[in-house]
């Protein structure tokens, strides 16, 4: 890292600068990670297998304002007393926390279709997981690009 005379070399200073950058990144507020989202999804499913399908996420692919992203989740289900959607959960990868919302439905919902507006701190993948009355779990993901992220102020 230092030259023969003990003076710091150009490469050494560049290395320090990179290290400093990493340190600054580390000082930002804790953010959820793809691994953090995986953990949250697994905790929601309580270890049961999650199959892709039956769930549809309707969300813009290119988001202009991450403070309010209109999101609709639909699940294919007859919504009868014997076969209905119990819970729909939404998860994100890069906000400070992986959970977004949990919707609790039942046979009196009639249709498994819910909508809300969410905050997104960065371009990322959104996951929706539905828990059915028979204990099975189904999921869908959506990739999107956020041009103006939420939580940018301050």
């Amino acid at each position: 890292m230092t030259g023969t005379m003990g003076a710091p070399s150009r490469r050494g200073i560049l290395g320090l600068a990179t290290g400093g950058g990493v340190l600054m990144l580390g000082l930002r507020p804790a953010a959820a990670t793809p691994a953090g989202m995986e953990a949250a999804v697994r905790a929601f499913a309580e270890g049961a297998p999650i199959r892709p399908g039956r769930v549809t996420i309707d969300i813009p692919v290119l988001v202009e304002n991450g403070n309010a992203v209109p999101t609709t989740v639909t699940v294919e289900s007859p919504m009868t007393a014997a076969d209905h959607v119990r819970t729909i959960a939404l998860f994100n990868e890069r906000n400070p926390l992986p959970d977004i919302v949990h919707f609790h439905l039942g046979p009196r919902s009639g249709r498994a279709k819910v909508a809300t507006r969410i905050r997104l701190g960065d371009s990322q993948t959104i996951t929706a997981v539905a828990r059915m009355s028979d204990g099975s779990f189904w999921s869908a993901t959506a990739d999107l690009i956020v041009t103006l992220p939420a939580c940018i102020e301050g």
Binding site: A68, T72, L105, R108, S109, A115, T116, R117, R119
Partner: protein, 107 residues
Amino acid sequence: MARALVNVPSTARKGEVIEIRALVQHPMETGFRPKGDGTMVPRDIIARFECVYDGETVFAADLHPAISANPFLSFTTVATASGEVLLRWTDDKGRVQEERATITVTG
């Protein structure tokens, strides 16, 4: 708490699936926003929403800080009987807001 906008159809046929939309005024403070002095603005969000209709909670939601300010929710329910549709929001400070709408079910 604040102003709320609720959209419940005033009439429906029995067995029809109706859509209910609800918007309430609330800052939904995430707890991750820094104040000028370096500390964070304390978290204050609506954590729970419920819809009670015909003697049962037909829809509920657990909200997290990733829900936008002035949270909007849209969901469906089956029109079973004439009566009151109660929408209830509860926030972190324990404040409760209730809105009521009346629906007339025919047939």
